[in-house]
Amino acid sequence: MLNETEKEEVARELERYPTRQAACIEALKIVQKRHGYVSDEHLAELAGLLGMTEDELDGVATFYSLIFRRPVGRHVILLCDSVSCYVMGYEDIYRHLRGGLGIEFGQTTADGRFTLLPAPCLGCCDRAPAMMIDDDLQLDLTGPKVDQILAQYQ
């Protein structure tokens, strides 16, 4: 169930658009902000608020790779696997992350600390290889640097 704050936030978004459906991405983000992902129950509830069917809203939710439909860890790592990062050693970074965290792309560490996902581009080709943890960009990565960075996220 959405709490009162979430409902208010959704209601505010609804006012900004000519049709209710148009607010759907913002509404999904509101839910994800608090819960980390969008559960089936939340999806159904939002669909009702937006005048959409669950199927329609799920189509939107699953289209966007940064809307999560499954629980994720406390921190989400988006590792860029696009061309520039690839050239600049993305594979080493991925290997390093895999070794250190014991997870592959799409997985979450057993302690629920990290979820590791690929990202097609973070827009930082000049400082490749790059990754993003939660809202923070991390650039010019090297193995040791990655370890330092990860330590900051508990």
Partner: protein, 901 residues
């Protein structure tokens, strides 16, 4: 017509269409996936690439998508050049990258558009060596099977299901190379047209779940052209049989009737043909018990009963052919021929016939799709005449599509046109007792019983034609609505009035006629479409027997002591007591293929052929006579009803044409029905049309467990078709098309080869013939109808709610007797119920789903209470479920007391 050049050869093509349509209409081969003739072009799959040249000098050319390229004078393209051939080969290779190549275990195999296109592009070697993406499949209910790994992401399914059929419980999930076509959660597809996914999907993702229960490849099916028997619209079908059981039903394209599609009742209602409970043996009552007898003995016994009768009553059937009904009429005499339509519906059907005869002209379903404004009076078309729902869903797009026309966007460009018109919809009024599914696309909804709808219709008519009287008791909101609706109708280019028998109100049908004629004075393009309950309701009405009340009376008074009942269950037609008292001590000859109370009560039972084992003509709600043909020869004692009756009457008709000839001379109005299809002596290149495909397997071995000699194919004296693979296998006249199949085109997509042009009529002459020419015969125009009192509606505050007015509520799964014998469909029928407004339920102290007993005239029904928020106070609906005790509707009843739990 303009000239285009394909590989340097000049062809005549129609201007205005797209190049893919033109190429296919010319009979050339060009592979495609995402384009569909009914749904237009989106250019998504890139498979239809061709090379377009600027002019004769241009040797380079450029790749374009044929489906996205308008046909213009002098257009120069190549299909054969290396560049576009390579491009197409690459495209299919990508599309196939994730495909599991599981044709041998795929139900689509052998009639798969993807297989055909793969062969056409000569993609025969797989280079992709990596893991394929795989999906979990969903349970989509009893009709459609889901196997998504086979998907090539052409988007046809969602374009049909959501965009064309308007359903919202299906979508595209995911993105880039992991795109999932399905639902958010498993669960039965909600659309009444879900079965079309099976034909729309070019791969084996969506397949027929009922076929899976008794699977047979297309090439092993024996098929014949047929007509759907599950409502009054007469959609064209292709049923397929193997080993004496019907395996599936597919759509048979008809440019005017059903187009490419069917509803799920029509597609999945067929299994009644296979039911073990079905009467299959001839029976005679001996010592009070029905006992099996030989066909000859039963015939002799029936002959004896008929011959020694002091008076006969023949009860015809709205689900039996014109020929069978006529044969009965000949046996018992015109004065003893009665309708087997429930009398209250019979009155409506006869009124509908009268209105159609007066006019204005009635539209085909295709014409309905092209109307730009519509009013639906009293009907829940989704449940009563399902394909009309699909047609109206297209019609509401016509007015906003004008915008595209102004912007000079080709209407076949589906993407831009949908983007442009968004949620805009043309004027549509739904006036009905309770909410209907079409409400979601309606501009106006109006909730009222029949009399209120009559008032609204007459008030609207009066707005259009000031010479008409103002209806009595018109309230202010209704008057205002009438004004608005009339204005929209007057402005429309091709306005449509839809009504029919669904409400059980003769006045409403008359009022619809009044409105349509008032409209026709303003705009001669106005059309009147009326629904009827059964597949041959109108044909039976045209035969003109008396009504069933009179049959009961004749039996009760002893004027008749022997009844011959054709494909009807009398207990469905009148209350139990009335039927039983009329039949007491009477003798009963029954011809049927459905088990039922009348069959159990028979003195002689003659097992009748279903539509799949019989030939005959059905007249749909437009008055279109259409022929259906035996799909397989009847087994055992089963015979076509008209043949039993002809033998009983000593007519010795040699074949169906002889029945039709006698029908034509007895009833000249019906004579054109003879021309619904070619006669039995029709041959092409000296051949009959083969019901079995050229690849039908096991012909010589199919009965090897019984005899090693290959039996001679059964005779078929009645039709120009043969129960054999030997026969004409090309493109026959439209009425005789047993399957769509053409070299290189093994799937239903072969049908473009059978069309004169894409979306045009089939080649080889028309299928079916219209029997009604408005204005040429029949009744005088009723100009005014009075809205009756005892009315529930928005204006009815002055009424007291001591009583409830009960009107019928129809169900696509549940109301039609034959389809209710099909397990897939019966499982989706509601339990018997009475729908009440929240206020009436509260007043009677009733909760949802509570058991109640409702007392109708002469019949008490045990029902569940359903609370329908949309119902106005004082109005109730009775779920019309096949097999439940018959009541006459509309009815006025006391609010039901709670029944025993």
């Amino acid at each position: 017509m303009i000239t285009i050049y394909v590989d340097n050869q000049a062809y005549q093509a129609k201007a205005g269409g797209n190049l893919l349509e033109a190429v296919l209409s010319l009979g050339l081969n060009l592979p495609y996936f995402c384009w569909h003739p009914a749904m237009g072009s989106v250019g998504a799959c890139r498979q239809c690439a061709v090379t377009l040249y600027k002019d004769e000098q241009d040797t380079q050319g450029k790749i374009v998508m044929a489906c996205m390229t308008p046909v213009k004078e002098g257009l120069r393209i190549s299909l054969q050049d290396r560049q576009s051939r390579d491009f197409r080969a690459r495209v299919i290779e990508w599309l196939m990258a994730n495909h599991p190549h599981d044709c041998p275990v795929c139900d689509e195999g052998g009639e798969c558009h993807l297989q055909d296109m793969t062969v056409m592009t000569a993609h025969d070697y797989r280079r992709y060596r990596f893991a394929k993406r795989t999906f979990a499949n969903q349970d989509l209910g009893p009709f459609v099977n889901h196997e998504l790994n086979r998907c090539i992401a052409c988007y046809r399914c969602v374009r049909f299901y959501n965009d064309y059929a308007g359903a919202r419980d299906f979508s595209v999930l995911g993105c880039h190379n992991t795109v999932y076509f399905g639902r958010s959660q498993s669960g039965p597809l909600e659309s009444e047209f879900s079965g079309n996914l099976v034909e729309v999907c070019p791969t084996g993702v969506f397949t027929d779940k009922t076929l899976k229960e008794h699977y047979t490849r297309k090439w092993d099916l024996q098929t014949a052209p047929s007509i759907c028997v599950h409502c009054g619209l007469g959609c064209n079908t292709i049923p397929g049989e193997r080993y004496g059981t019907l395996r599936r039903v597919q759509a048979r394209y008809h440019s005017q009737v059903n187009g490419y599609f069917l509803c799920d009742r029509g597609r999945y209602g067929y299994e009644f043909v296979n039911r073990p409970e079905r009467p299959r043996t001839a029976m005679i009552r001996r010592d009070g018990q029905l006992a099996a007898a030989s066909a000859e003995a039963a015939l002799a016994a029936a002959r004896e009963l008929v011959g020694s009768a002091r008076g006969l009553a023949g009860v015809g059937s709205p689900r039996a052919s014109l020929e069978s009904n006529f044969a009965l009429r000949q046996l018992v005499g015109a004065e003893n021929f009665y309708s087997g339509q429930a009398p209250w519906l019979d009155d409506c059907v006869r009124e509908a016939l009268r209105q159609l005869q007066i006019g204005p002209a009635t539209p085909s379903l295709r014409q309905v799709e092209q109307c730009d404004a519509a009013v639906v009076l009293g009907e829940d078309v989704t449940n009563f005449a399902p394909m009309l729902d699909l047609a109206i869903r297209q019609a509401v797009r016509v007015e906003p599509m004008e915008l595209a026309r102004q912007l000079k966007i080709d209407l076949w460009l589906d993407g831009p046109v949908r983007e442009l018109i968004q949620d805009r919809r043309g004027p549509l009024l739904i006036a009905s007792p309770a909410a209907t599914k079409l409400d979601e696309i309606a501009r106006w909804t109006y909730r009222s019983g029949p009399a209120g709808v009559v008032r609204l219709a007459l008030a609207t008519a009066r707005e259009l034609d000031a010479s008409l009287p103002v209806p009595d008791g018109l309230d202010e909101p209704t008057a205002r609505l009438a004004k608005e609706v009339a204005a929209a109708l007057a402005k429309a280019k091709s306005p449509l009035v839809v009504s029919g028998c669904g409400c059980g109100s003769v006045e409403l049908i008359q009022a619809a006629g009044v409105l349509a004629r008032a409209l026709a004075k303003v705009n001669s393009a106005a059309r009147l479409s009326l629904t009827v309950p059964d597949c041959n309701s109108l044909g039976l009405a045209m035969l003109g027997g008396k009504n069933f009340r009179q049959a009961l009376e004749a039996l009760r008074l002893g004027r008749a002591d022997t009844a011959v009942v054709l494909e009807s269950d009398l207990w469905d037609l009148a209350p139990t007591d009335a039927v039983e008292s009329a039949l007491a001590g009477k003798r009963l000859v029954v011809l049927d293929h459905l088990p039922g109370r009348t069959v159990q009560r028979a003195d002689v039972l003659l097992p009748a052929g279903t539509f799949a084992e019989a030939d005959g003509t059905l007249v749909n709600n437009e008055g279109r006579a259409q022929r259906f043909f035996q799909v397989f020869p009847p087994q055992g004692d089963i015979r076509q009803s008209w043949r039993w009756l002809g033998d009983l009457a000593g007519r010795n008709w040699p074949n169906l044409d002889a029945v039709l000839a006698e029908l034509s001379s007895a009833l000249p109005d019906l004579a054109p029905a003879t021309g619904a299809a070619p006669q039995a002596n029709f041959r092409i290149e000296g051949l009959k049309v083969a019901r079995q495909s050229h690849r039908y397997s096991g012909r010589t071995a199919i009965t090897a467990d019984v005899t090693v000699h290959e039996p001679k194919p059964p005779d078929d004296p009645d039709t120009p078709l043969t129960f054999s693979m030997e026969g004409f296998d090309g493109i026959p006249p439209a009425a005789l098309v047993p399957r769509f199949w053409s070299p290189g085109w093994n799937s239903q997509s072969a049908l473009t080869r059978f069309q004169q042009e894409v979306n045009g009529p089939l080649r080889g002459g028309p299928a079916g013939v219209r029997l009604i020419n408005p204005g040429s015969s029949g009744g005088t125009a009723v100009s005014a109808v009075s809205g009756e009192s005892d009315q529930a509606g928005p204006q009815a505050g002055r009424l007291c709610y001591q009583k409830l007015l009960v009107v019928p509520a129809w169900h696509i799964y549940g109301s039609e007797a034959q389809s209710m014998q099909s397990p897939a469909l019966a499982g989706r029928a509601p339990r018997p119920y009475l729908g009440l407004s929240p206020a009436d339920a509260a007043q009677a102290g009733l909760q949802a789903d509570q058991r109640i007993t409702a007392q109708f005239d002469g019949q008490s029904l045990s029902l569940e209470a359903r609370i329908l928020p949309s119902l106005p106070r004082g109005l109730a609906v009775l779920g019309m479920l096949a097999g439940q005790p018959a009541v006459q509707l509309p009815a006025i009843i006391d609010p039901p007391p709670k029944g025993a739990p």
